[in-house]
Symmetry: D2
Subunit: 286 residues, 4 copies
């Protein structure tokens, strides 16, 4: 006997009267049971967001037809952007990593202990450093070095691997490389990056050194989707930790690692559970 | 020209198929527009909670009839516990206070600056201490001293005042008196208390002294509804702040005040905005 | 019988061998007892900071001579920047405020309840708004309107008042005016400002609107000393609170107020207790 | 060319005049340079704590004689409890673990990436589960099952291993077994445990279930030294994370893991760097 599947619908569109009623009726009239419903209206923009999860046990529309029926009966009437995912379909994640390994090891431990329902078929890196730590878990490791001259062709190799392994989303676990627009566009709102930061933010080289010199009292990290504006994509998660003058630059880096790995893990969790709707460089995280 | 009113519905009941559809249809079919909808199912208990706010502009059921229609057409069918409030009706709050005044002054400042939409007709205290600070704002101050022998009769005086002033809810701003069951029952889930605490919690006298001796690293506060079990009612808000060995007991008390006033203010805000559903000694705060 | 006074020494200078020994010997040899000693070496800069508080009971150097003796016997040998304050001398604070009143009311309540050991003889404002709330506490309120043309002459009036009232330090409780270099220089590291912020920071007009559009998940505040670089002075205290898409711009402002008033109060506390050493656009907060 | 070593002195004793002067003179007169000095007086108890780190380059007392000289010249005069450690001596840590592996993997990653200066020769477990994850790093794994009848003899085996491997301190990474007084006494203030908790704390079985039923809004963790009173030893580190009604018991456990691993890591870091002084069931963490 198997647990029946459930479906997660995420939509966004201009706010219109009766959307919630229409959708919940659609679920109910066809025998579904709403498990979770979250809705948000941005009144400033007159814009509507919803995430709805329902139980497919007893749902009268066959799983393979749900998307078609929803598109025809509901989405087309309201001009919705929408996506439906099924909980029993395990998402497939690729990790991109360079030499900093704190986020990498944190993700690997969560994968190895099955904390997350996710497939992790490949790790891609511009260095050899983490091959052993990857392959001992039975995961493929692809060393694809990047330099100024070969970036586009190497990204084509990356894209081939991503397609071959049917990768749904990419995690840049401190990858330290700027992706080209082609890859970013292909995986729009499906590439998660972790960015360290402080208040105020210090642009350019040596941000920790600048933050130290300024004597900031907080270190932070931001998990966000990658866009073509470096570190400027829609924010998924953020957190900070207190620091003081007693923290050297080395201490700041060490503490920064801990906040980075937790914030990135939380961003991945939100993405994995279909909790995020990204729209106009902003996220709604239900 | 006036802004049209909006209504806030809060319900809880055993989870049943189609509840959300029924309610949103009811709103929609009668010309209402959903402003905010939050729903939660406790799957462990098979229990359903919802808060729904809708715009009354164009709503075809007259405001004075909405409760009756909702009760008849929806609530009775599902065995719902429910309440409907209207945003233009300003809630009426009474403050109970003793000698500790940090929460009192914080609330007064929010009231004086109209941060909250709330009426504050009376302050009741078992001491004279805060009379001037109350009356200079044009608020009535009632000194009702409490001792072991007169508690019940003095609470009757309090109840008379609460009724006379049509008080909707009571805030115990460090009132330092245990209320009798009569008053607690009369204002069930409408009396908010603030309770300081630490990890671990230290029962009995001198909790700060015990927390200091144990060297705890966090001080906290809990805003909760009052029940007949002292400090054990449904939790609305909680927060903590870090402390260290460098904090004396006096420092712990000083820092405790800041976290208490913020946590209490957040609990009041949640209550004022009809964001809280209390059920079975637990709250859902939407 | 009076409690004996204690002295607080703060120094900073290039790190040199034996500084701590020299100073603690100086205290000890003259019969003083060290109450608190905090020391910090910035190894990157080879720079030394210390705060030392000692009991004057039984100290053989008369209070009025301590500064002279310290300067001669210790400070001159090490090229120290130093200051000595006495705990029984109550610092005198002036509040500058505009129309936003949350920090103002928070400070007034702490003053009225004697939470802080501070004199508060005057409030200076470019608006009349908070006159009543000031004068009812017996504090002088000075309305000194500022516009583009009169800033320097109005600041001279402010300076006259500050001198007349022997003000030690100024708190900009959301004053919303940029001070001229003359006033900033006169009160170098003695003007505390509160600055709201988010991650990333949004420069220019309407920062809340920009933070909302970007969907930031944290709102913060920074308490700092004022320098001639707007919002760029040495940071004393910082904190953040979580926000989400459910927070409107109005909610962000409301939550921002709470974090601002706490962060500013903590900065004032640190300053009042002589816990802060500012050097090179950075603070050491012991 | 090697970096010269530095020494860390930690003392505690009844507060007496001149202690700081005596010790800093001792360092200075023998050619040492103070790198960090932290001192704390508990005025309520008239008790003195100090941590002092100094550079041994140019220090005229040979490293092997420092303890003897300090004992004779200083400690004996003041009745001090004291310990001196050398930074170049790498501490040796043993991990005790059961089946919950989140803290284990976090520690392993820090060890594998050399984030900490620590030797990790053995992992001891009452289960086989984490053998592979241990041995692949070249660390010995000892499976020592514990039941009611064999606890004391199995602990003797553990003690033999700890001695054989010259273990300095033990980390209970969610070990789930109560240690006998013999082992606790042998490693007094050298066994670090991680304890999850909430406000209020729920004793006995199923604390997550009880916290869920009560609707707590924070989950916490406490890192502490193990004493014979279960979960009641001196607290080293604490932290909390917010939760809400939307978190199921499974979510609470998942979030609890993240806070547990960070809090435990911070406690280990404090211990490893000789930042902790434990006295009377309380810690001073410099």
């Amino acid at each position: 006997m198997t647990t029946p599947d459930s479906a997660v619908l995420r939509i966004h569109c201009t706010d219109q009267k009766g959307i919630v009623a229409q959708i919940t009726e659609f679920i109910h009239d066809n025998g579904g049971n709403v498990l979770k419903l979250n809705q948000h209206v941005d009144h400033a923009e007159n814009y509507f967001y919803m995430r709805l999860e329902w139980d497919l046990q007893g749902f009268s529309i066959p799983k393979g037809k749900i998307r078609e029926y929803f598109a025809t009966l509901i989405a087309s009437k309201y001009g919705m952007h929408w996506v439906i995912n099924f909980k029993q379909t395990i998402p497939r994640m690729a990790i991109f990593v360079s030499k900093y390994s704190h986020c990498f090891f944190d993700i690997m431990a969560r994968w190895e202990t099955k904390e997350w329902k996710v497939e992790l078929p490949i790790v891609i890196s511009n260095h050899e450093k983490l091959r052993v730590a990857t392959e001992r878990l039975g995961i493929e490791y692809h060393h694809i070095p990047i330099d100024k001259d070969n970036k586009l062709e190497q990204e084509d190799k990356q894209l081939d691997l991503l397609k071959k392994h049917k990768i749904d989303f990419i995690v840049l676990a401190r990858y330290m490389q700027i992706l080209s627009p082609k890859l970013v566009t292909e995986y729009k709102n499906h590439i998660i990056n972790i960015h360290h930061s402080s208040l105020p933010a210090f642009a350019g080289a040596n941000p920790y050194g600048k933050a130290f010199e300024r004597g900031v009292k907080l270190m932070g990290a931001t998990g966000h989707y990658v866009t073509n504006d470096l570190d400027e994509g829609p924010i998924i998660t953020q957190d900070v930790i207190p620091i003081s003058h007693r923290d050297s630059i080395a201490d700041m880096k060490r503490k920064g690692k801990d906040i980075e790995k937790t914030v990135l893990a939380n961003a991945i969790w939100a993405h994995l559970n279909y909790n995020v709707i990204a729209h106009n460089n902003k996220t709604i995280v239900f």
